[in-house]
């Protein structure tokens, strides 16, 4: 392995901290990209930031472009507006820049641009946290065929999604049995998976996304979809397909999305094994039982029935539409992810716990990363809501 960080990971000299003139030193070491990252995390436009600072949007644009640095007094207000410590805006920490086009969004058409930007900035932060933990704890090495240093070489598993799923099952020694813990098996092979409401109430609009353009592949799953363990597992497998097959992300590409669905179906329910187990006529209760054994939804098995021709197209459409309707209503979900420990990400949490046993503290880590503590807790999966004590006026 190389001692140098990958190409898209930057380092700079550590800013000199001074209790008397923190803002001056931050201004001197100002990092334009950090301003962009903080602004995206806050979900603000340049114009919105400018209005709150009382400067022009052009000025903010110049700061982000690096043509003119902000004054120290602007640094203080910027930090306040963007809810980051002033030191966040300084260079000197490992930073993996992720391009907007380098992530696959499950619901691209429904995800507003500013939410995508926020999601990408979140993924950058997840990597920063993982990098900080990796310096203290040996994590499972990345074991994804063709992946190295934020790049996926084509041809490692072939281009066909079904073959790729079969190849990965063999490579990970999963046999042809049901996969009891989909998320855990991904983490055990070095893939970072998160399940936190990184964008508050707007997280639902993002659904799920993944990127293989960072030194570790990252899959971001969202809690709003976690009330259905089967959909959650399928989404995880879908994102795994993007990591494996679609290094050259074409966001929203319908063919890639279909390939990812085909991969997920084959990975979770290998066709050669599941087909003989399907009922010979439409029997939704039998499919439900089979789905429970394999950890997949009834509709995915209805789709399998159609593949082998045991149901007619009209019956398939009728069942598929109604089941989709039921899922969207969300009234009858009885299988939330939290009842399935193997589907809740644990790698980052456990890595932090081990590092803590060996002396790392939350404030020290927050300071190292220049994050506020609530942000760090969120990234560690320890905070799903604001846990500050609430003042009640009586």
């Amino acid at each position: 392995m190389t001692d140098l960080p990958p190409a898209n990971v930057r380092r700079a000299s550590q800013p000199q901290a001074s209790t008397g003139s923190v803002l001056v030193s931050v201004a001197a070491a100002f990092d334009p990209d950090r301003l962009t990252q903080a602004r995206r995390l806050a979900g603000l436009t340049k114009r919105a930031v400018a209005e709150q600072l009382g400067v022009s949007a052009v000025a903010v644009g110049q700061w982000e472009a690096g043509t003119h640095p902000p004054r120290p007094d602007h640094i203080g207000v910027l930090a306040e507006v963007l809810d980051v410590p002033p030191s966040f805006l300084a260079a000197g920490r490992p930073y993996a820049r992720l391009d907007d086009s380098a992530a696959h969004f499950r619901s691209l058409r429904h995800t507003p641009a500013h939410q995508r930007a926020k999601a990408i900035a979140f993924a950058e932060q997840v990597w920063e946290l993982v990098y900080a933990l990796e310096r203290r704890v040996q994590l499972p090495p990345v074991d994804l065929p063709g992946f190295s240093a934020g790049e996926v070489s084509k041809g490692a598993v072939g281009g066909d999604p079904l073959q790729a799923a079969q190849t990965l099952r063999r490579h990970w020694r999963l046999g042809t049995e049901p996969i009891p813990r989909m998320v855990r098996v991904m983490e055990a092979h070095g893939i970072i998976v998160t399940l936190v409401p990184f964008a508050g109430n707007a997280t639902a609009t993002v659904d799920a996304f993944s990127t293989s353009h960072l030194p570790r592949p990252i899959v971001v799953l969202t809690p709003d979809r976690a009330n259905d363990v089967y959909r959650h597992r399928f989404t995880a497998a879908h994102e795994l397909a993007h990591l494996l097959l679609h290094g050259d992300a074409v966001p929203g590409d319908l063919l890639q999305e279909k390939e990812a669905d085909a991969f997920a179906a084959e990975f979770l329910t290998p066709g050669a094994v599941i087909r003989p187990q399907l009922p010979t006529r439409m029997d939704l209760k039998a499919l439900e039982r089979l789905g429970q054994q394999w950890g997949v939804s009834v509709d995915s098995l209805v789709y399998r029935c159609r593949e082998v021709g045991t149901v007619s197209d009209p019956a398939y459409r009728r069942a598929y539409q109604r089941l989709a309707q039921l899922r969207n209503l969300g009234l009858f979900q009885a299988e939330p992810v939290d009842k399935y420990p193997g589907e809740v990400p644990a790698l980052i949490t456990r890595a932090y716990a081990l590092a803590e046993e060996h002396g790392l503290t939350m404030p020290a880590l927050a300071q190292e990363l220049s994050y506020r503590l609530p942000r760090l807790r969120l990234l560690l999966g320890q905070e799903t809501a604001d846990i500050r004590p609430q003042l009640r006026l009586v």
Partner: protein
């Protein structure tokens, strides 16, 4: 209160012991009507606007309040379909209760009542869950099929619709009322057959008796469980899995850059090659 004798249909929809639930439903609608009547009287309007507006909210709130402590009842709001109110859901039976004041007078027959157009997305979605009518209108897709094949295809669709009921259906809590009284109350299965006109087709209806005055009719404290559904659930996909660790081990802090990928095997160099 009046003893409710469960019908086979009630047992199918609400479990083997539905009396408490149906009693709570009856109390809820009468309570909501009472609330609306109080608002109507206090408002002093000649029109029924205050009554109607209060009842619209109270029917949902009372259904939730009266049933939330019954074992097997969950209170949920739809996820992807807009709905201001929480709904009562029976998890085991996969049934959601939806209140509908189908008439504001005694004269309108339930069978003739229509949902006011434009029908909301919520109503369209919920009432499609009980759809059991298939269109026998032939299309180009059917052109190549024989009469037997057509019959088989329609029969299969009907079979699917029957089976789909077990995956989630809506039970309408239907009633007719005005400040003059609560004229009719019951539960039933209805399907929205014409979305544009709001036409509804009832496939089942059962009257609910009023709660007895002076009893514990307005107490929501009911805690007997609804009967369980069939227990033949298959083994879970994760039942065989043991907890696994990631083989995490501490590293000398900040000593070297992380090792995030397996180290490549050393390449043989000229000096390491065995001599011939």
């Amino acid at each position: 209160m009046t003893e409710l004798k469960p019908s086979p249909q009630a047992q199918e929809c609400f479990g083997a012991n539905p009396a408490e639930l149906l009693g709570a439903v009856s109390r809820a609608i009468y309570q909501a009507h009472g609330q609306a009547l109080d608002a109507h009287v206090s408002g002093g309007l000649r029109s029924n606007d205050t009554y109607g507006a209060t009842l619209h909210v109270a029917q949902y709130e009372q259904l939730v309040d009266m049933t939330r402590d019954i074992t097997g009842v969950s209170i949920r709001r739809p996820v992807d379909v807009s709905c201001r109110f929480e709904l009562v859901v029976l998890d085991e039976q996969m049934v959601v209760l939806y209140p509908w004041r189908y008439a504001v007078d005694r004269a309108t027959r339930r069978e003739d009542a229509r949902m006011r157009p434009p029908v909301s997305e919520l109503r369209k979605t919920l009432l499609s869950l009980t759809a059991n009518t298939i269109s026998r209108q032939l299309t180009f897709e059917h052109a190549a099929l024989s009469a037997e094949e057509l019959d088989a295809q329609f029969a299969e669709e009907e079979l699917v619709l029957t089976q789909l009921r077990e995956f989630g259906q809506v039970v309408i809590i239907g009633f007719a009322s005005s400040p003059d009284g609560l004229f009719d109350l019951g539960w039933g299965i209805a399907e929205l057959v014409d979305q544009d006109r709001g036409t509804v087709k009832w496939s089942y209806w059962e009257q609910l008796p009023p709660p007895e005055a002076g009893s514990d009719a307005f107490s929501p404290a009911i805690r007997s469980p609804l009967a369980q559904r069939d227990g033949d659930r298959a083994s879970r996909f994760d039942s065989a899995a043991a907890d696994d660790d990631f083989g995490l081990s501490p590293r000398l802090p900040l000593a070297e850059p992380p090792i995030s990928e397996p180290e490549a095997p050393p390449q043989p160099t000229a000096s390491s090659k065995p001599e011939d």
